[in-house]
């Protein structure tokens, strides 16, 4: 997924502001990256390159840190965040099959965002409703007993909602 020039500019400025608050001690790398992630919602290339220059380490070392920890995202989150539960119960009930269904339908991998920025896909640990396994949380809404067909249904429902919302908006004007 490509970032716009505007997004890159904002990311570069935000990262610059964050880094200004840190000395170049290597121990500040993760706190600085966390602040960038908090402000932007993700850590793009330009942010990693700026951080690498600030801490005088190879850019690949920053990339290694970002890919090591689950809390960091490389791509901006989508408008709708799909979180697939990978807890023990969901795992046993075929969460990996559900993950594959989402990946196939959205044509992205876990951790990525669709080209239209509508959906991003994440794996999470237990969300606390194991009786409903396998569980998928879309934004704040919990969906239980998910099957690959239900994935299609959820996406279709989302399309409908969007269409209705657009029509309602059009009608109101």
């Amino acid at each position: 997924m490509e970032l716009t020039a505007e997004e890159i500019r904002i990311a570069a400025n935000t990262t610059g502001d964050v880094l200004a608050g840190f000395s170049d001690s290597r121990g500040n790398l993760i706190p600085a990256l966390q602040q960038v992630q908090n402000k932007l919602g993700y850590v793009p290339r330009v942010a990693m390159q700026k951080a690498a220059a600030h801490f005088r380490i190879p850019a690949v070392e920053v990339y290694g840190v970002i890919t090591f920890y689950n809390q960091f995202r490389l791509t901006p989150p989508g408008k709708n965040q799909v979180k697939i539960c990978m807890g023990t119960a969901c795992h046993m009930r075929g969460a990996n099959i559900i993950q594959e269904a989402w990946e196939r339908r959205l044509q992205i991998k876990v951790g990525e965002t669709t080209a239209d920025r509508e959906f991003s896909l994440e794996r999470v640990a237990c969300v606390g409703c194991c009786t409903m396994a396998p569980v998928v949380v879309i934004n704040e809404e919990v969906n239980g007993k998910i099957t690959p067909t239900r994935v299609d249904g959820l996406l279709f429902a989302h399309e409908l909602d969007k269409k209705n919302a657009a029509e309602a908006k059009g009608g109101a004007e």
């Binding site: 390159q49 190879p58 850019a59 690949v60 990339y63 290694g64 890919t67 090591f68 920890y69």
Partner: protein, 218 residues
Amino acid sequence: MTDRITLVIDGKTVSAVAGEMLLWVALDNDIYIPHLCGSRDDQEKPASCRLCFVEVDGRPLPVTACTLPVSEGLVVRTGGERVDALVATGFELLMSNHRLDCKNCPANGDCALQQIAKTRKLKLKPKKLPVLERDLTVDDSVPGILFDPNKCVLCGHCIKACLRDGNGILGFTRRGFERVISTFGDLPLAESECSGCGSCAAVCPVGAWSAHLHAEAF
């Protein structure tokens, strides 16, 4: 002048500089201890390959030779039931995701894994563990260098060599089973400011990095 001390390795009395790591003392005295990840000039020792275990008198458990500074009167055995079990398991874990293709591998005959298997009488093919191949893309984008991550043992020598002789473009990325050596943003070497120095191929103990056989053709 630094203090010289004497210690005993496998019944052989050797003399060494106090504080040097046991692994290098043993190797300098023609006593082979399996090892992949350590280098003599390491500031921080990775101690990640888990192959250089030895028994030391007075220590309750086997220790890694690469992190043990030698001292006066140390008595070391490079083998033993517990050491052999640890090394065998560590080796089998490494081999369980190593693409085994010795016949066509550029490192055939000059491979640390083959050497360890031979000296410790271990099988290259895992017996207890299933082989989990990752089928990662081979990078031949820079003429003269070939990187096959499927053969990588994650020793990190190429990262150090690249920092020293190249542009420092290599690093460990991801975590757990997915851990690989890659460049910033996983770009091919040719798009990553690779200087083409070939230091990575020179230091690779296995056949993951190699000099490209068909370099002239490009």
